[in-house]
């Protein structure tokens, strides 16, 4: 999700608000979001009422956390453009009644159910994750991951990715300007060749930079494993919200239990 918004590299535009949602520890927010995404994604196709309940929860957070809705919508729109191609594939599948056919293309009732289900799943999951990234800064999310016992080395890798992606973009843009200033020809094939070379150069530079960063880490006493800080345990609010999320997830599933 980071990669999609490179142009505007300010992800957490709503992280400074003071609402109930913002008062929760970042790891609680992360945990709730992940729980919701799993619950949404693991619900079998066609269980519309379950998603209706989850939707209430997700839209509730959108409303109460006072997000900038336009930005949320824009991000969802961009991300949906990518998911759209995947969704299209789910439409044309066998099973159920044939509702419409043209040559080998057939739309069946089963296909429509799958399309509808996957669309809702994608929409709700994206909403949840976008709420999380809009309201929580990346360093806070990384701390949350450490607090949730994600291996520290993995978190450190993510942290340096976040730190250096801006540097890499700047370096690439500088190379592009340098090429343009020496009249990079408009010939398409040549241009692709040059950009390919730039990416190669960028890769080598990244490698060298990695080496130097590692030296700088060693110089400050790095011993191969990042030091994990102690984190304060969650408050009553965090426990309440987590319990509420779990209850909501179970409630959504329980609707279809009698069947």
């Amino acid at each position: 999700m980071l990669l999609l918004h490179l142009g505007a590299f300010h992800l957490d535009i709503d992280s400074k608000q003071a609402t109930f949602w913002h008062s929760l520890a970042p790891r609680t927010r992360l945990l709730c979001a992940l729980l919701m995404v799993f619950a949404i994604a693991l619900t079998p196709n066609g269980r519309w009422w379950t998603w209706a309940i989850y939707g209430l929860g997700v839209f509730g957070v959108v409303f109460f956390s006072r997000l900038t809705k336009t930005v949320l919508l824009k991000r969802i729109a961009v991300e949906f453009a990518f998911i759209g191609t995947v969704l299209l594939g789910t439409l044309f599948r066998d099973g159920g009644e044939v509702l419409w056919s043209w040559g080998i293309l057939r739309i069946t009732s089963e296909g429509l159910t799958v399309l509808g289900s996957v669309t809702i799943k994608a929409l709700l999951s994206l909403l949840t994750l976008n709420i999380l990234t809009l309201t929580t800064s990346v360093p806070a999310l990384l701390n949350a991951l450490t607090a949730l016992r994600v291996p520290p080395l993995l978190v450190a890798t993510l942290a340096s990715m976040y730190r250096y992606i801006g540097v890499l973009i700047k370096e690439f843009q500088a190379m592009r300007k340098a090429a343009a200033s020496r009249n990079l020809a408009r010939n398409n094939v040549w241009q692709r060749f040059v950009i390919g070379n730039m990416i190669g150069t960028l890769f080598i530079r990244t490698f060298e930079r990695g080496e130097r960063v590692y030296q700088a880490m060693l110089a400050r006493g790095y011993q191969g494993v990042p030091v994990v800080e102690k984190v304060p345990s969650g408050g009553r609010r965090d426990v309440f919200v987590l319990t509420f999320t779990i209850v909501l997830a179970l409630l959504g599933q329980s609707i279809y239990l009698p069947h």
């Binding site: 360093p139 942290a159 130097r212 060693l218 110089a219 400050r220 006493g221 011993q223 030091v227 800080e229």
Partner: protein, 271 residues
């Protein structure tokens, strides 16, 4: 100024090691066989501020990386404080010698300023209140307000700020020796001035590799000139700066401040 700092130094020398850096017969060759350093002998006393000058590729950075044990001596030996540089003592040596890299982008790798300054002390096992104190102190020393900068992303800062934060990250480890690689490179005049004042105010032993000879003249009484991996001069800064022929011979040039007061043709560094 010189007098007051020397008084402070006298007080500090009780705590400081007498001869923090001793290098004996150090030789280093790159994997491709190029000789980077040959037969380096150097001793630096506590509280000394030494300029390390030389052309590009003369071995300045390689020598500096040795002082922190990033590169281990191939032949010859180095004593830092009371420890010989070998794999067993690296932890102590790295707490003793603070290395400030040329490009702050390579040194500031944590997401926020606070995390980055706290990186070194955390590795030494510093925690809680002590950690907070150390980070705050280090940031105050380089004139970076912890409140204002702490949560900021290290990426969106000016060159001067990045440089000072990089120095803070090293100071937070409470080293006794500060080794800086071209500290004034890519700084605007004001940031450069701030940096010079900062280095002047720090009563640590300092080894400053630089092409900025005006800064070397202002900061350091002693200068070491490296040329093709060898020490060709080790002595008073003033003396070497007023010898344009020697400097030219080693791809260097007299500092501007030397030609400025006279502005005579005969004082031109290049004839």
């Amino acid at each position: 100024m010189v007098k007051t700092s020397s008084v402070i130094l006298d007080n500090l020398q009780i705590l400081m090691h007498h001869n923090p850096i001793i290098i004996e017969n150090l030789t280093y060759a790159y994997p491709d066989g190029t000789n980077a350093l040959s037969k380096i002998n150097l001793a630096i006393e506590a509280g000394e501020r030494v300029a390390l000058i030389g052309a590009n590729g003369s071995g300045k950075s390689t020598l500096q990386l040795h002082l922190n044990g990033i590169i281990l001596p191939q032949s010859g030996r180095i004593k830092i404080g009371k420890w010989w540089v070998d794999p067993e003592n690296l932890r102590d040596i790295r707490n003793f010698v603070g290395l400030v890299f040329q490009n702050p982008d390579n040194q500031l790798f944590m997401p926020t300023v606070w995390d980055d300054v706290a990186f070194g002390p955390k590795n030494c096992g510093c925690q809680d209140e002590e950690l907070v104190q150390r980070v705050q102190q280090a940031m105050m020393m380089v004139d970076i307000d912890p409140e204002r900068y702490g949560a900021r992303n290290t990426e969106n800062l000016s060159g001067g700020e990045k440089k000072r934060i990089a120095i803070a990250g090293v100071l937070a480890m409470k080293p006794q020796v500060l080794v800086l690689d071209e500290p004034s490179a890519q700084l605007d005049p004001r940031s450069r001035r701030q940096l010079i004042e900062l280095l002047k105010s720090l009563s640590l032993t300092q080894l400053v590799a630089t092409h900025d000879l005006d800064m070397a003249l202002e900061l350091c009484d002693r200068t070491v000139v490296l040329s093709q991996g060898q020490i060709v001069y080790d002595g008073a800064t003033e003396k070497i700066m007023s010898n344009p022929d020697f400097l030219l011979q080693h791809s260097l040039e007299s500092p501007l401040s030397y030609s400025r007061p006279y502005c005579l043709l005969k004082d031109l560094p290049v004839r």
